[in-house]
């Protein structure tokens, strides 16, 4: 893709890509005349549209994020696109017109609908051709905070996304005086395909936290040269990087909050003492955000659109595709909304204030934590229980490892009724394709606990939300236990920059078949060192604890390195669906499966 993008004269590429290549080459000055004449995208809190009829138009606009200029693909000229407000029970009609020079689409993320309306080109429909209008029509059978985005090529990375709010039929049960969408996203200053090509050429090109000699000497001073070397030895022997936390970094990304980089100081207003509901959505292509508001407790009331038993935390991690509603009660004049990227190279920053123009102190970025032993080998380490602090702690604990946390796997098969296992099988079964060149590691002793906030958030002195804290109000949607079990492994090769499921890229895969109407259990087992937000279209993923207890109904589940977790699915949606990692490049490179329900 790289060569053609440098040869625009050959006319091989859509104009947008050519422009982005030009932009990438010459930075700001290289924007051609016609692009400079493009209307600037409207950013900040997007306009709100109410149903049941919506009109959306995709077109090119120009953007400038703290000096990173470029061409964006946007909806109704706005980035993020308009916030769509609908009502539960309502049948909505959404006409989407494509004025781009390439096929486009919109996927309604987390919305349960007929598969023909799901908006995945090549699976659920043919896509929206240039110049055409596609009419989506579906009835809302749920309420909550959702979002929508393009499912075509790299348009999701270049601006086609927005919030979708469905008001409950019987009125809101979550009490709040104000309601504010906080849509986090990221912007690649480079053409996304160019960024991807660079990762293919040098997988660590954007890593700004490489282990260095300076760090080694610092570790040696603190813990002794022997311990410092022993830690390096382990990672280097495996050819794994303990700082491979995000494929992209601030080297190429701008971190956005409601379409604005931190220089723009996006501000949400409130009156002191009011309850403010923040509908946090992560629409980023590649960035896990760790969000906190210093000085405020966050009461989590909804996850992935589903009301949960309120839980109060200081901070939560939100991965691409996930939504999380929190209620806050600010009393001071201004607070900083601080969403730092998982790799700690930058943050999306906004302000909650009583009037425009105020700012509160901005925290410094946390220090980078290295991945721990638990992130590579799961059960090899007790760090999974939140016991690991930073790299040095991991290093020091390593020698005095606690063996008590392992080895009960064989007793894991309690039966609930008849032949339905009450909990997920702990027997690890790798697919034979995991021994190919597309996988660089396999975890044989995964960690199954869900109370680990993940790398970078362990022992930071703050109360951080974990999957174990989530309890969907009302319990599971289906009282049946699982009749069968599907085990899928998340795989990849960091050096080759390939991503797959069961060691098979999408091109070589066969669909996963769900029998219509069945209740089944899915086990996701992460054989990589990255966290993958796994999103299933069309059906809910009902997360369970390692003991088989229902936790939460989710559309996107982040699976941590060396983690094995399970959920139940009711296959009540006929048709062809997809299931993928919501990190865009992982998805596009093959961590993607077709799902057939028949």
């Amino acid at each position: 893709m790289l060569i053609p993008s440098l040869l625009p004269a050959a006319g091989l590429l859509p104009r947008r890509r050519f422009l982005q290549a030009m932009t990438a080459l010459g930075s700001t000055a290289a924007l051609p005349a016609w692009a400079q004449a493009l209307p600037a995208a409207r950013t900040g809190t997007p306009p709100e549209l109410r149903g049941p009829h919506f009109e959306l138009t995709m077109d090119y606009t120009s953007v400038d994020f703290d000096g990173r200029r470029g061409i964006a693909t946007t909806l109704n000229g706005s980035l993020p696109g308009p916030t769509l407000r609908m009502r539960e029970g309502e049948t909505v009609t959404i006409r989407v017109t494509n004025r781009l020079r390439e096929t486009a689409s919109i996927h309604w993320h987390g919305v349960i609908l007929p598969f023909q309306m799901d908006g995945v080109p090549g699976i659920s429909f043919a896509g929206i051709a240039p110049g055409e209008t596609f009419t989506y029509r579906f009835t809302l059978e749920q309420s909550g905070t959702y979002w929508y985005h393009s499912h075509s090529g790299m348009q999701e990375l270049t601006g086609i996304y927005g919030a979708l709010i469905v008001e409950p039929r019987g009125g809101e049960t979550i009490r709040a005086a104000r309601d504010q969408v906080v849509l986090l996203s990221d912007w690649t200053g480079d053409d996304p395909m160019r960024a991807l090509a660079k990762l293919k050429a040098e997988a660590h090109v954007y890593n700004q936290n490489n282990p260095t000699l300076v760090k080694l000497l610092r570790d040696a001073r603190q813990h002794g040269m022997k311990a410092a070397l022993a830690e390096r030895d382990m990672w280097n022997a495996m050819r794994m990087s303990p700082t491979d936390l995000a494929d992209l970094s601030s080297r190429v990304l701008s971190y956005l909050i409601n379409g604005q980089a931190s220089g723009a100081n996006w501000t949400a207003l409130f009156k002191p003492g009011e309850r403010v509901r923040l509908r946090c959505i992560n629409g980023a292509g590649n960035t896990f955000y760790d969000l906190r508001i210093p000085g405020l407790k966050l009461t989590v009331v909804q996850q992935d659109g589903q009301n949960v038993e309120p839980v109060t935390v200081d901070e939560f991690r939100i991965g691409p595709g996930q939504t999380c509603d929190v209620v806050v009660q600010p009393r001071e004049d201004a607070y900083t909304l601080f969403a730092q990227s998982m790799d700690r190279t930058g943050a999306a920053i906004g302000t909650l204030a009583v009037r425009e123009g105020l700012k509160a102190p901005v925290p410094v970025l946390d220090a980078v934590q290295w991945l721990s032993m638990a992130d590579m080998m799961g059960g090899m380490d007790h760090g999974a229980h939140g016991g690991e602090g930073d790299a040095s702690a991991a290093m020091m604990n390593h020698g005095s490892m606690d063996h008590s946390s392992m080895g009960h796997g064989a007793m894991n098969h309690g039966l609930a009724d008849g032949n339905r296992p009450a909990r997920a099988s702990a027997q690890v079964r790798h697919a034979r394709t995991e021994w190919g060149p597309g996988s660089d590691m396999r975890v044989d002793m995964p960690r199954a606990n869900l109370d680990d906030p993940g790398v970078g958030l362990r022992n930071n002195g703050r109360r951080v939300l974990t999957l174990a804290d989530l309890h969907t109000i009302g319990g599971p949607m289906d009282p049946r236990g699982a009749e069968r079990e599907i085990e899928l492994h998340l795989t990849g090769n960091m050096e080759r920059y390939t991503w797959s499921i069961d060691g098979q890229r999408f091109a070589d895969s066969k669909p996963v078949h769900f029998k219509y109407g069945e209740r089944l259990r899915v086990i996701l087992h992460n054989d990589t060192m990255m966290t993958h937000p796994m999103h299933l279209h069309g059906m809910w993923q009902e997360l369970e604890s390692p003991e088989g207890k229902f936790l939460a109904r989710l559309h996107t589940i982040p699976v941590q390195p060396a983690q094995r977790l399970s959920f139940l699915v009711t296959a009540d949606a006929l048709g062809r669906w997809v299931w993928h990692c919501h990190l865009m490049f992982h998805m596009d490179l093959g961590m993607f499966r077709e799902v057939v329900v028949s």
Binding site: L216, Q427, T498, D588, G590, V596
Partner: protein, 349 residues
């Protein structure tokens, strides 16, 4: 670029291998490799030690070098599922060894990844809407990259300066690609020597590609064409390694070993030791090459990554000819060993 000594200086008593070991020692991460230390961190926990790490100069054969040459742990050992509530249980020794996390071959009872399809195929069959053609994602794309690893001015301690280059152009998918490798020296405006290879690379293991193709030696003197077969990849400890065997005209064979390592001193300052060894099966006086180990070199370059893609560097290179090659060198009025300073630029896109 070892077959001619353009400017024969003295080496000052530093032996390449010695120097490599010292360097490796200095930069932590490669220390174990240089010392032949075992990499089994499990030893910390009292587990059985794993196989010794291959040294950079003698990479193992394809397939066997993946850290996980030992076989996968038995299923019973693999079944452990830790949780805070887990009862105490002894940990099987085999499972403590991380040697089975990488490489190897699948056991007979490995899961069939297609079993969940129940006979369904992607993009065909029931519930495929009209007009929908099969979805293709980026995993089927081809990518291209161009890397100029070295474009440098060479300053021998005695004699004239010249320019050297080494780069590659790669195009293809994840597991199969074409690669054009070129290196050579330009002196006095003339291509003094060049070696160009056109290879087909094929992934054979997580970190290793096999390479098959042609090599052409050009520049001054008679040109030579070889059939090339090799293995290239990343050995444990991030040592980029390449072993290539060549089959030439009139029964000539040759072997080339290369290894290099990037030691990050800071996020931008990178020290790169690099070594190269050449062996030939026959004397080739016209090319100044003798039978056996003909030459070896050790380079040390310090680069500054302005961006990850553009790095100027300075460095030093020791080079030595051996046996008949050294004789040819001396006959031509040169010296068998030399030290040279280099300054250059590397970039890629």
């Amino acid at each position: 670029m070892n077959k001619f000594e353009l400017n024969p200086p003295s080496v000052g008593g530093i032996r390449p291998l010695h120097a490599f070991a010292l360097l490796a020692l200095a930069f932590g991460s490669s220390v174990a490799a240089a010392q032949g230390m075992t990499h089994d961190h499990g030893a910390t926990h009292g587990a059985t030690p794993a196989a010794p790490t291959p040294s950079p100069a003698t990479p193992p054969a394809a397939g066997a070098h993946d850290h996980g040459a030992t076989h996968r742990a038995p299923p019973a050992a693999a079944a452990a599922s830790p949780s805070p509530q887990a009862p105490d249980a002894p940990v099987p020794q085999a499972a403590m060894d991380h040697g089975d996390m990488q490489g190897g071959s699948p056991p007979a009872d490995a899961r069939d990844p297609d079993a969940y399809a129940n006979g369904h195929e992607r993009g065909t069959g029931e519930h495929v809407p009209p007009g929908v053609t099969k979805l293709h994602l980026g995993d089927e794309h081809s990518f291209a990259s161009f890397k100029l690893n070295r474009l440098e001015r060479v300053f021998p301690r005695r004699g004239g300066n010249h320019t050297a280059y080494e780069g590659q152009l790669k195009f293809g998918g994840d597991f199969n690609h074409a690669v054009l490798k070129a290196e050579g020296e330009v002196a006095g405006g003339k291509l003094h020597e060049s070696r160009t290879e056109l290879l087909w690379g094929h992934a054979i293991a997580a970190y290793w590609d096999s390479q098959l193709g042609l090599r052409h030696d050009g520049g001054e003197g008679p040109s030579r064409t070889w059939l090339a077969f090799g293995v290239e990849g990343t050995a444990p400890y991030w040592i980029h390694t390449r072993v290539t065997a060549y089959l030439g005209q009139s029964g000539r064979t040759a072997l080339r070993l290369e290894a290099e390592y990037d030691a990050y001193l800071t996020q931008k300052l990178v020290l790169q030791p690099k070594t190269e060894w050449h062996f030939y099966s026959k004397n080739d006086p016209e090319q100044g090459i003798g039978k056996g180990l003909s030459s070896a070199s050790l380079g040390l370059r310090l680069r500054y990554e302005f961006t990850p893609q553009i790095s100027p560097y300075i460095g030093v290179e020791w080079q030595r000819s051996f046996g008949r090659t050294a004789d040819f060198m001396r006959d031509a009025g040169g010296r068998a060993s030399q030290t040279r300073w280099v300054a250059g630029l590397s970039f890629w896109f």
